[in-house]
C-alpha cells in the first residue's frame, strides 16, 4: 500500500510550503488590486511590488508602473533598456523609498548591469539556471514568490558588492549585487535563494507574525550577521540560512561541478552555513514564538 503524502506539512521548506505561499500571496494581491481599483478605477494597474505597503499610490508612481508593466515580460531578469530605465526611475526617484537613494545609501540599483551581451548578465542568468535545474521545490518557490531581480552596485560603482536585500515594503523584489570569489555564480545563486527565504517569511507575515509581541524587540544572536539583532531579524536570518543550506545540499547532491575545487568550495560553504543555522535556531529558544513561528522552527529543525 503506497504511503500517503503528508499533504499539509511544510511551512518554510518543501513543496507544501510553495502551495501555502502561493495562496497567501494571491490573497494579498487580490486585496491590493481591489484597493487600487477603488482609488484609480479603470486606470488601476495590476500588482507591482511598489504597492506592497500601500503608501505609494500617487499618480506619478501609477503612471510609471503602467509604463513598466507594458515592457515587463514574465522573466525575473528583464533586459529591455526602456524597462530598466523606467524601473530605475521608479525605485530611485518616484517612490520615496529611502533605501535605494544613492545619496542616502551605500548601494543603489544598477540596471545597466543587465545589458544584453554583458558578463554580469551571463552571471545572473547562470545563477538562475543553477537554481532552476538543481533546486527542485526551491526553484518553484523562487518563481512563485518573486516578481523581479534588481541588480545593485556599491557607492563607487562596483557591481561586485556581495550585498543583497529584501524589504517588507517591496514584496517580490529582491536586490543583489555580484560576487567576487572564485565561484561567483554559485555565490550569486545562494544569494538569490537567501533573499527568497526572506520573501517567503514576508509572505507568511502578511497573515501572522512568527514572534510574540513581548519578544519582538528582544535582541538575540543572528546566524547571518554573527551578532545580536532584534528577534525578528534573527528569525529572518534562520529562514534565509535554511534556504541557503537546502540549496547547497541540492547542489552537492545533483549538480555536475566544473571542477573538484568548485565542489570542495561548495561543500565548505555548506558546512559554514549549516553551523550558523544550528547556532541561529538554538538562539530562538530564548524567545516566545507564535503558533506560526513554532511550526516554522519545527520545519527548520527537521532539515538539520
Amino acid at each position: 500500500m503506497p504511503i500517503r503524502e503528508k499533504t499539509l506539512t511544510g511551512w518554510i521548506t518543501g513543496p507544501q510550503s510553495v502551495k501555502k505561499v502561493d495562496v497567501i500571496l494571491s490573497t494579498f494581491k487580490a486585496l491590493r488590486k481591489q484597493a487600487l481599483e477603488a482609488r484609480f478605477g479603470e486606470w488601476a494597474p495590476s500588482f507591482h511590488p511598489i504597492f506592497s505597503s500601500g503608501k505609494f499610490f500617487d499618480e506619478e508612481v501609477v503612471r510609471l508602473v503602467h509604463a513598466i508593466q507594458a515592457q515587463k515580460s514574465d522573466r525575473l531578469i528583464v533586459v529591455d533598456p526602456e524597462y530598466l530605465r523606467l524601473q530605475e526611475e521608479l525605485y530611485t526617484n518616484a517612490a520615496d523609498l529611502g533605501l535605494l537613494d544613492p545619496k542616502k545609501n551605500a548601494h543603489s540599483i544598477y540596471c545597466e548591469m543587465l545589458k544584453e551581451g554583458s558578463s554580469s548578465l551571463d552571471e545572473f542568468r547562470s545563477a538562475l539556471s543553477l537554481i532552476e535545474y538543481n533546486g527542485g521545490w526551491i526553484s518553484d518557490m523562487l518563481k512563485s514568490a518573486l516578481y523581479e531581480i534588481v541588480p545593485l552596485k556599491g557607492s563607487v560603482g562596483d557591481s561586485r558588492t556581495e550585498a543583497g536585500f529584501s524589504d517588507y515594503n517591496l514584496l517580490g523584489s529582491i536586490f543583489t549585487g555580484m560576487y567576487k570569489g572564485p565561484f561567483p555564480v554559485i555565490d550569486l545563486a545562494i544569494a538569490f535563494v537567501h533573499e527568497v527565504g526572506h520573501q517567503v517569511l514576508f509572505a507568511q507575515q502578511l497573515g501572522m507574525v512568527p514572534i510574540s509581541e513581548e519578544s519582538f524587540s528582544k535582541k538575540i544572536y543572528s546566524g547571518v550577521r554573527k551578532t545580536e539583532r532584534p528577534a525578528i531579524a534573527s528569525f529572518h536570518a534562520v529562514v534565509a540560512l535554511v534556504y541557503m543550506n537546502e540549496m547547497y545540499k541540492k547542489l552537492i547532491e545533483s549538480y555536475r561541478f566544473n571542477s573538484a575545487k568548485e565542489r570542495i568550495y561548495t561543500e565548505q560553504r555548506f558546512e559554514q552555513t549549516n553551523s550558523s543555522l544550528i547556532v541561529g535556531v538554538n538562539a530562538l529558544s530564548s524567545i516566545q514564538l507564535t503558533k506560526l513561528g513554532e511550526r516554522i522552527v519545527e520545519d527548520v529543525k527537521a532539515t538539520l
Binding site: R4, E5, K6, T7, L8, T9, W11, K19, K20, D22, V23, I24, S26, T27, F28, A30, L31, R32, Q34, A35, S53, G54, K55, N105, A106, H107, D140, K143, S144, G154, S155, E162, A163, G164, F165, S166, D167, Y168, N169, A191, H194, E195, Q205, L206, G207, M208, V209, S217, V224, R225, R229, P230, I232, A233, H236, A237, A240, K291, L292, R295
Partner: protein
C-alpha cells in the same frame, strides 16, 4: 505550478469571505477527524482546498495535518489589504544584507 497559480488567482478574489465561512479558528485543539468548520470551508472554497490537499485524503488527515490546515486558514483569513503597521515599525532593520554594507564616504 503555472496551472496552480491560475487556479489560485481565479479564486483569490473570494478569499475575503474565508474568515466568515471559517469563523474564528481554534487551532489550539487539533482533533483526530475533519470537523464541521473545516468541512464548511472546504465546501465554500473547494478549488483552493484542492490546490492544498488531496480531497480524497480528508478522512485520513492526522491531528498534525488538521492543525496545520487550521493554522493556514487562520493565517489567510488575517491577510489584510492595509499595511501591517506593527510589522513595519517593529522590523527595525528591515534591510537584510547578506553582508553589512560599507559606509558611504
Amino acid at each position: 505550478m503555472r496551472h496552480l497559480m491560475l487556479i489560485v488567482s481565479g479564486i483569490a478574489a473570494t478569499f475575503g469571505g474565508i474568515g466568515s465561512v471559517f469563523g474564528k479558528v481554534d487551532s489550539e485543539n487539533p482533533s483526530d477527524s475533519v470537523d464541521s468548520a473545516i468541512q464548511r470551508w472546504i465546501s465554500a472554497e473547494r478549488d483552493v482546498c484542492a490546490s492544498l490537499i488531496k480531497l480524497s485524503d480528508l478522512e485520513e488527515m492526522s491531528a498534525q495535518e488538521i492543525y496545520d490546515f487550521r493554522l493556514l486558514s487562520e493565517l489567510i483569513s488575517q491577510v489584510s489589504d492595509s499595511p501591517i503597521e506593527y510589522c513595519d515599525s517593529l522590523l527595525m532593520e528591515n534591510m537584510t544584507f547578506t553582508k553589512p554594507p560599507k559606509k558611504r564616504r
